[in-house]
Symmetry: D2
Subunit: 343 residues, 4 copies
Amino acid sequence: MTENLVYDTYQPTLNELRYTFGGHEPVRGLKPGEVLTLYTEDCFGAAVHGIDDLPSKVCEMPYLNGVTGPFFVAGAEPGDTLAVHFLDIEPARDWGVSATFPHFGALTSTHTTATLQAPLEERVWRYDIDTAARIVRFQARNSDFSIDLPLAPMQGTVGVAPAGGQALSTITSDVHGGNLDTPEIRAGVTLYLPVAVHGALLALGDGHARQGRGEVSGVAVETAMRTTITVDVLKGVTTSTPRIETDDMLMSIGCARPLEDAARTAGADMVAWIAELTGLDTLDAYQLIAQAGDTTVGNVVDPAYTMLAGMPKRLLGGTVIQQGVHDRLRSTPWPPAPGGGAS
Amino acid sequence: MTENLVYDTYQPTLNELRYTFGGHEPVRGLKPGEVLTLYTEDCFGAAVHGIDDLPSKVCEMPYLNGVTGPFFVAGAEPGDTLAVHFLDIEPARDWGVSATFPHFGALTSTHTTATLQAPLEERVWRYDIDTAARIVRFQARNSDFSIDLPLAPMQGTVGVAPAGGQALSTITSDVHGGNLDTPEIRAGVTLYLPVAVHGALLALGDGHARQGRGEVSGVAVETAMRTTITVDVLKGVTTSTPRIETDDMLMSIGCARPLEDAARTAGADMVAWIAELTGLDTLDAYQLIAQAGDTTVGNVVDPAYTMLAGMPKRLLGGTVIQQGVHDRLRSTPWPPAPGGGAS
Amino acid sequence: MTENLVYDTYQPTLNELRYTFGGHEPVRGLKPGEVLTLYTEDCFGAAVHGIDDLPSKVCEMPYLNGVTGPFFVAGAEPGDTLAVHFLDIEPARDWGVSATFPHFGALTSTHTTATLQAPLEERVWRYDIDTAARIVRFQARNSDFSIDLPLAPMQGTVGVAPAGGQALSTITSDVHGGNLDTPEIRAGVTLYLPVAVHGALLALGDGHARQGRGEVSGVAVETAMRTTITVDVLKGVTTSTPRIETDDMLMSIGCARPLEDAARTAGADMVAWIAELTGLDTLDAYQLIAQAGDTTVGNVVDPAYTMLAGMPKRLLGGTVIQQGVHDRLRSTPWPPAPGGGAS
Amino acid sequence: MTENLVYDTYQPTLNELRYTFGGHEPVRGLKPGEVLTLYTEDCFGAAVHGIDDLPSKVCEMPYLNGVTGPFFVAGAEPGDTLAVHFLDIEPARDWGVSATFPHFGALTSTHTTATLQAPLEERVWRYDIDTAARIVRFQARNSDFSIDLPLAPMQGTVGVAPAGGQALSTITSDVHGGNLDTPEIRAGVTLYLPVAVHGALLALGDGHARQGRGEVSGVAVETAMRTTITVDVLKGVTTSTPRIETDDMLMSIGCARPLEDAARTAGADMVAWIAELTGLDTLDAYQLIAQAGDTTVGNVVDPAYTMLAGMPKRLLGGTVIQQGVHDRLRSTPWPPAPGGGAS
């Protein structure tokens, strides 16, 4: 496979960013095994540079969270599963921004958790990102307090075109993926998404230099990313909610409100997955996840919250998972060997 | 106005039904003041005729709840409000059907309120509809019990194209309207929707011969309808969530999960509406709705639940509401005078 | 039965108000068929007389919503059902009060729907109550707006001692009843509660001159009441959630969060009740309630929200309901004949 | 301090287990600094020994989750904070049990998330506990699958008497603590609870040999524990929701439904705590927790779900936390030196 490895790059203009999953023509093709380094803009479309750039002033609603793509994946047809492996996610800038955004976040009233209270003050924080030292620096706005936090790059938004001719805002998530906003989508992991249209139409964006689990203010350390992916297609393998595989863990992602329904969606999918992999019956698999699995928060802020049900792979007895695609994609040479692989 | 009244009709083929709000070209234009009698197919696309036609077998997922339209409303631009007045909603058949649908409904686990339990039995009920006697007849499937219920025709699904290039399934609802599934959308009322695209692109469907409040099984007495509407455009009047005006009541509709968020969305909008109409400050308006208003259930089954906040108009002191459009449209001659008005 | 009718009265001092269901000795006995006129204080313990009496200043937390009782019901044992019939609920004052209370209500953040926003302004409204004209008068605080609203007296809080040795705050509700805050608890209806302890230990309070459905500000038109009840015990009839019977309707009450769970609790109980009364199987009963029943809001503000599932009795075919106790208690002579019945 | 250390033990009989927080006389006193090793019975009151002991048959409802205590803490008065430090939590048996319990758990309908579906099969699992090897062994019921899981002993239920004369079931949780069911309550941590009554009346039980995060089946690996605690009282320090301090982390615990409200309760408390410790203003503290804090699941099954908001102590700049009580209690000699300390 490494013989013919193709390494390519793609960078959209701001005008080429897309604000829905579905409803758009592909910007280019992507073959299984091809390695693509793409650029994703931050969730504010590069409009927020500093503390005086209030998002509600400098951004045009609802055009937030623009994604790069969509990419037409050769061979992907409805009923298949798309495996998206992240070889690398690295900040493309040495700074990021965060903000409170009016009526958005876990600790504020919102457009649906509507109250009569005034919104919180809108405030922007700018973070220095040091990719060499692997830190981002928090600097308080109203005091001298500052602290270095570990750099932990991730992609907030990854999805495919949804079923039924829908075009869904990149602000929300559902079975097609979307704004999952969970720190698990980092380099080294494989994300499984259900293909609903010819070519899957993968798109991604919304890089975070880091986020706390829950992303409680609704905005992470937002920055542009250079992200390197490679994909594969699992023919005839259906997927009913997004799943993640890491070297150690399997995770199912539920996207729903209220938050317990996100947990239920994830948990029921993980029970089914464990049962399929181990031969355990449903109740035995339920029992195993209850004692050995984890229910983990993605975000509690987006139109659909996300929760993950996770299970360590070592507890499942060595079965081949998803046709071994994670290990296969994980072994893709990255960075490319000197002098080799350029397209 | 009655001088130039245009009465027209429109009936789509099954292939012309649409399954998203947004993402479609208009099927025809609709001028303010024009009277259009249109045909809406039932939510099953006429595929369920009797108790042996299980929806999960005879329907193709996710193509349920097809709507008629979209109609391009002359003069409607983003930032305006579309007023849709229902002159008439009458069953187009002498029968309707209902069903339990696997993993759909308030008293079953669902795809997001996921459990490990087996789904409920899928079962179909066929109702005779007697438009002369104004009744629908419930006949139990597993006993001789039968009972006549009042015919109360309504349209479950009415909406416009949403903002931001979205194309949203006709199964759900949001600020654009959609699958509101509330019995208030009956003849004699005016529905206000926010225009988000040039021409609004109004579409409607999902007629119910009647439904209980909450629509707890997820499926009403579904039937085809002949529905007569007339529309107007309120230029420069913004709408943030669907509203209804009847001869006696104002209602705001919230679409969200959990159900309390639907109530909050509706309530906050009604407080703002009352304040605007009466000059009450926010807390006085809140107090008035707390004692004199109603929080009412639309549905507790769809992907977005709906709740209504209602206020009797007589308590608001005779202010002109929405430029008087409800009274104006309500006075449209219907049925048309003999010999007059047909296009 | 009218031969031996006993009419009695009971009025507690402020010190005799109780703030939990459970945990208290009975204040007196109450025999089935006896007619008791009791006094209930308003939810603020008579501490709020006018617009300058802010509840957070004049009341001592958490001692709100004090109830009158508990009453030891002769013959009531765990596993029975207590039927509480309301012969009369009349304001004991010619004024009532309402308020915004910090972090309480549907359109504000609360202690559990916690946000970082400042609480709403605390404000009190005083209502004149005219029992002859049957009106309560709303007077805005920040304008001259005023309006007469229909007097519609009801009891917000009615319950028995809960199971398992619990003592539950009178602010919340559960299967034992409690702060149901639903306008259905008015004169002429019968409330069914599950007996969990010897003597049931019935208590009630929190009279409302009226409330909007949902009680969205969290505080109704609060006033003292003279309330006349008579009770009966249904031996061996179990009750799993509070139920109401009126002349026309059956209703099950669900007490839970989120609000859809209150609807589910109520709906599932009503399906079971319909099935029991009509012989319909579960799915047929579910279908009937979906088309002919109602899902109705009690309150969306208390620690447990309440929702009601209602069904018209006339649709159920004339079966005897709860041993006919509602009709029996409803026929109690009230007011007592001149010269007769006083104890 | 170590000079006068008192080491004592307490073991209740089954009849001395308590099923509410509040409503009970103390079983004994507990002085700050005293070290008490107590015995807690499993949540089934030792009635489930093996796979044939179905809890719904062998246990008497609602008497589950019995706690040991309450203990009268000398010097604790309303308005203080009780610090409970866990020196040791060790299984008192070499086996534990788990189960599916009808209508209880995250992946089943429940009494409030009520559906018309049949409950899941009730099934019991017995686990061997090897305290030397620090493992518990899962053995599937319907196959040969078995796997060793790490022993991770914790206490599911810890609380004090609640305010206002309430007596709350040990099945639920609230600001008084209770059935928190979160794996953080393990040896080495300090739990902070608000004192609401004279002497606090601390009680605890419900030991788990381990649980997955979320405890999705509703039942962990339940076993009896020998648990060693020492307490202190923070005079005049108020606590509005339970908090945990470990060597590395601060955590606030929210107890509520829906699950997002548990997250909001925890998050808002942590923002306030961070602001108090660092001098950050509210929005700066919110921003810091959004990027550096964690929102973590306790349980998604109990009548009140639990969520934790956590923050690493090292990010807070070395401030003294809660008067240094965690470090002080953490340094208590345990196990006691040979020959020393016995009472």
